[in-house]
């Protein structure tokens, strides 16, 4: 089969795919994309021989497929400092298509029939131009693309657009009068493994720069300093259950609190947009690196 324009621009990293039916589906989706000319990265071989995939990973946008919530492929990508353009978790995607993945290792017909749709959706969504917050019903679902800041051996991701930051490295993603807030990639890497998230109460009134929950990591404890003012309208229960989501995916699945905005126009003047934060972080991270490691 000829390589399409889309296929020429992407590379896919699935998990090993042995976590019951969903795992098998992960691998199978990757192979369906492979059949269309998309290079597939074997996660195990990549871990052992990263140079083998250097060219593809350096020149294409990365799609990641996790079979289950353990998220091995995502973890591997994060560990290797790869920028994920789009990811798919089979268990969640299958449920959205009306199929509950089973416990058998083998693929059942119901799930197998939906794999081409999942593969298509994964590739299509990733290659489509990003929608703006104004023209989507749920801007939180808009694909996020990232810039990467390298300081010595450290790599920090910053969304290319659509996020606002305060100087405490906390972000807000605004949509339809609300904002999801969380901490940046820089925070999660500096603070190490998240082990507890203590959220604020639903309905609590929060003013910009107030605490909006706290985090405890293996190294330290820190507050989430709200970049916006308003009323707490939702808590990310997934992060309460598994705070490591912040380490894995700080800007998307790792959001902490949703706030119903009261005066974002005013808040906005005190925040940095994504490009400004990138420059701010560059200076901050370089200074911190110099402080810790000197001119070695």
């Amino acid at each position: 089969m000829a390589v399409s324009d889309d296929a020429a621009a992407i590379v896919v990293l699935p998990c090993s795919g042995l976590d019951k039916e969903a795992g098998s589906a992960s691998r199978e989706i990757a192979l369906l994309l492979s059949d269309r000319g998309v290079p597939v990265v074997c996660p195990v071989l990549y871990e052992r021989s990263p140079k083998r995939y250097e060219k593809e990973l350096g020149s294409r946008r990365l799609l990641v497929i996790d079979g289950c919530k353990t998220g091995c492929a995502s973890k591997l990508a994060a560990e290797k400092g790869l920028t994920i353009s789009k990811k798919l978790t089979v268990t969640e995607a299958a449920r959205m298509l009306g199929v509950e993945p089973g416990k058998d290792l083998r693929l059942g017909e119901a799930l197998r029939e939906r794999l081409p749709q999942m593969a298509e959706q994964l590739a299509k969504t990733e290659t489509a131009p990003p929608a703006s917050a104004a023209d989507t019903g749920n801007a939180y679902e808009t694909a996020v693309t990232y810039r990467e800041l390298t300081v010595d051996k450290f790599k920090f991701r910053v969304p290319e657009a659509g996020y606002f930051f305060n100087e405490n490295d906390c972000w807000a993603r605004v949509a339809d009068g609300r904002a999801r807030i969380g901490v940046s990639d820089y925070v999660q890497q500096s603070a190490s493994d998240m082990i507890f998230f203590e959220p604020p109460a639903i309905g609590a009134e929060i003013t910009i720069f107030d605490e909006a929950g706290s985090l405890e990591t293996t190294k330290t404890a820190l507050d989430i300093i709200s970049p916006v003012s308003g009323k707490v309208s939702a808590i990310n229960d997934a992060v309460v259950e598994a705070p490591e989501l912040i380490n894995e995916d700080p800007y998307e699945r790792g959001w902490a609190v949703e706030i119903e905005l009261t005066d974002f126009d005013s808040d906005r003047g005190l925040l940095m947009d994504s490009p400004a934060y990138f420059e701010y972080l560059k200076e901050k991270a370089e200074k911190e690196h110099e402080r810790l490691y000197g001119d070695r």
Partner: protein, 139 residues
């Protein structure tokens, strides 16, 4: 730790028809032939150093099945601090059964399916031997 099991661990099987045969054979052993004495685990978990997965391979008998000579499954078990009790390469079985050539990675075809059955039968016998020794004290 739960009841002792023999862990049959194939490679991830990305890109090679022989690797798909190894996975198919694993599924047959785990789900059809020896469901009470075997299990598998996701190789990615070992790659990522998952403690529970590492404990399983260290605390139980292990058979690895490789789709190619890179031996990713065996190497990852070894990286976890132990060695597989038995390690297979699908190619070795293919040499003995040249008429059972797998076709593609997505569909191994009739030959590939039969080769997986041959391999699964062999592994199931090995499971019986390993399970027997695993359950004998002092071994």
């Amino acid at each position: 730790m739960g009841e002792a099991r023999v862990y049959v661990i194939p490679c991830s099987g990305i890109g090679k028809a022989t690797a798909s045969v190894g996975r198919d054979a694993t599924f047959q052993v785990i789900e059809d032939l020896r469901p009470d004495t075997t299990d598998t685990l996701c190789l990615s978990l070992l790659t990522m150093g998952d403690e529970e997965a590492v404990a399983k391979v260290i605390g139980n008998k292990v058979i690895t099945i490789e789709g190619c000579a890179k031996d990713c499954a065996r190497k990852n078990v070894e990286a976890s601090g132990t060695s597989p009790d038995i390690s297979h390469r699908v190619h070795e079985f293919l040499k003995e059964h040249r008429d059972l050539k797998p076709e593609t990675v997505l569909d191994t075809g009739e030959g590939g399916r039969k080769l997986a059955e041959v391999l699964a039968e062999k592994v199931a016998q090995e499971v019986d031997e390993l399970a027997g020794s695993q359950n004998r004290p002092g071994e």
